[in-house]
Structures are given as C-alpha cells and as structure tokens.
Symmetry: C2
Subunit: 199 residues, 2 copies
C-alpha cells in the first residue's frame, strides 16, 4: 500500500459519528444483569454470536476478560463491587464511542450502579436485559458450585444468599431461562434491537 504524500491535513478528530458511519452500525451497550446461574453469560455469548452473523462489530465484557485484567486489583466488598461496575461502565462507554455494540454479563446487583452506567451513555444506548430466572432455579443449577459454598459460609456477600439483588424496575428486555430456550432469549434481544432501529 502506497502512502499519499499530498494528503490534506485534517485538524478535526475522528469522531464517534465517523466511526459509526464507517462501520454502518449503531453502537450500544447490551447489559445483562441477574443472579449467578441465571444464564447471563450463555445468552450474552449467544447474542454476540447472532450479532456477528448479522455482520455487527461486537465485544463481550465478562468476568473472564475483566476480573483478571483491568479489575484484578478489586475484591468483593460492596465498595469494590461498585468500583468494578463503574470501571466496566466507563470502559463500555469508550467501546460505544468507538462504534461497537458492547455486550456485558455481570451480576451488577445494585440499581444505582446500573443507573450510573445508563447515565454515562446517550439516551437509547443502554439496553438493560434482566435475567429474571428464579433464584431457586439458579441455585439448583449452581454451575460453579458457588451457591453451595455461599450456603456453607465459605463465600461471603454472595448475591441472593447474604447480599441483596435489586431487580430492574423498567428493563428493556426480561428473560427467564427457566422457561425460555436460548434461541427464544436471543430472538427477544435481537427483536428489541431491531424495533429500536439499532439493527
């Protein structure tokens, strides 16, 4: 590739608008919230896959790539959990600014912290997906054995056991994986995004 030597020098910055135009997509945050075992990661991954098939440029933020990297200095006290979500929100904002659809999968139990993230981006860019799967089902699944440890006292401050979960009051999408299939859940999220002309 040759470099043009007569390129016009632009003083303006590359903007969110120009990045979105280049990508021909509308960025947003698809924020999954719910108990451990409610299906957040499974559905978030499935949604990301479907978006990729639809040629959307996506990125998934979850415990795997955030807790071991950016937020590895944080523990599980209320203070650290709030800082955890704050940083994820700020990072999601930058990904939205970069023009991507960000999919996040974190318990994010407190209303105030989810509101903080909603307020970071423009109106309509925060899509809250509430996994309403009943706690009993989540505990029966116990995919990581965490509920058992929480019940025995081995883990403290576990959401649903000895730490509160505040359900969203007006989530954009509500999904219950105890009664809905993965495909039904994905379809509902995609339909919402289509209805809002994000897709």
């Amino acid at each position: 590739m040759t470099v043009a030597t007569n390129v016009v020098w632009h003083d303006s910055k590359v903007t969110k608008e120009s990045r979105c135009a280049h990508k021909a997509q509308r960025p947003c945050i698809v924020w999954f919230t719910g108990f451990s075992g409610s299906g957040k990661s499974t559905i978030a991954n499935a949604v990301e896959h479907r978006l990729a098939e639809l040629k959307q440029h996506t990125y998934l933020l979850d415990g795997d790539n955030v807790r071991h990297g950016l937020n590895k200095d944080l523990g599980f006290t209320d203070e650290d959990r709030i800082e955890n979500i704050r940083r994820i929100g700020e990072m999601s904002k930058l990904f939205v600014d970069a023009g991507l659809i960000v999919v996040t999968a974190f318990i994010s139990p407190f209303r105030a912290e989810r509101q903080l993230v909603r307020d970071l981006v423009e109106s309509g860019e925060f899509v809250e997906v509430y996994m309403s799967t009943p706690l009993q089902t989540c505990e029966e699944r116990d995919p990581k054995g965490l509920y058992k440890k929480a019940r025995s006292g081995e883990i403290k401050n576990f959401t649903g056991i000895d730490s509160e979960y505040e359900p969203p009051e007006n989530p954009e999408v509500t999904l219950d994986t105890s009664t809905m299939s993965v495909e039904e859940c994905v379809n509902q999220v995609i339909s919402y995004l289509e209805g809002k002309q994000i897709l």
Copy 2:
C-alpha cells in the same frame, strides 16, 4: 430485518480471530510516549485520521477520554501514575482483542510500565512511538502552561522538571517534531505499520 428461526446454535465464542477476519484488519497498539508538548496528541490524532482514511477501525485513548472517566479516581503520585498506565494497558488489550488499532497518547515516563503493556499483548502488537522532541523545545512550546507552573513549583512531579523520563531503548518508531513536519511523522508511522504488514 427478519430473524432466522432455524439458526444453528454455536457453543464457541466470537473470537479475536473472527472479529479481525470480519474487519479484515490486524489489531495493534500504537503507543506514543514522550514529554508534555512533544507532539504526542497532535501526531496520534493525525495518525488516527490517516488510518481512518485507509478504512481501518481505530480508537484513540488519551487524557481527554481516560482521565475524566475510567481513571478519574487517580491522581499524579508515582503509584497512581503507574496504576493509570496499567489500566490504559489493560483496556488497550481489550480493544486489540476486539480487533481495533488503538492509538494512545500518554507521557508514560517509566520503562517498566511501558514494558508491562508490551507484555500484555502478542509479539508485534505493541508499536512504541518515541517522541524524541528535545525537552527545551517542549518547554518553549508549553502549550498548556504546565512547564511554567512546574518551574514555579505550582505543580509537583512534572515529567522532565522534577520527575524522571526514561526514554525507550528500542522504540519501533522515533519522531522529533522539532525537525519533522506532522506529515513526515505520520508517514513514518504508517510506513512502519505497512512494513510489518499491519496495513
């Protein structure tokens, strides 16, 4: 857009490789380092603009979008400055994982912290651009009036005045804006990326 109801369920994740294939580009970090006033932001912006013209999907991280958001809890002690760069490095890694070319403009005075970021990503993905503009020129420019404040003692721990700058030993690109034009600087960075088949 209609939703396929017979979509095959993929258990695999959307990977860095699939995102890069979708975007037809190779991600990397173009990391500018140098004194305040050395031209980091100017050249970083100009490089991002050129990359956008070349249809590359980029994102610029600088003080404007990081210091007021993700890192607004950090000050300017050595400890906070190291944490500042650590977080920027971890975030850059996620942007690279998302398939983007990340351009960063931070003084990042310490070799160890730049090495930490280099080690976060794969070999060849960290492109260190050393702005070797002499301190005297930077201080004469003093675009934000910070050198004056540092000389008068109003600002403490200012790089080049009462805080050390450790120049890179083997930077991928070296630019001196006291002798090179913006266009020459941009061309040199683009040529490097082309030579490494990143472009």
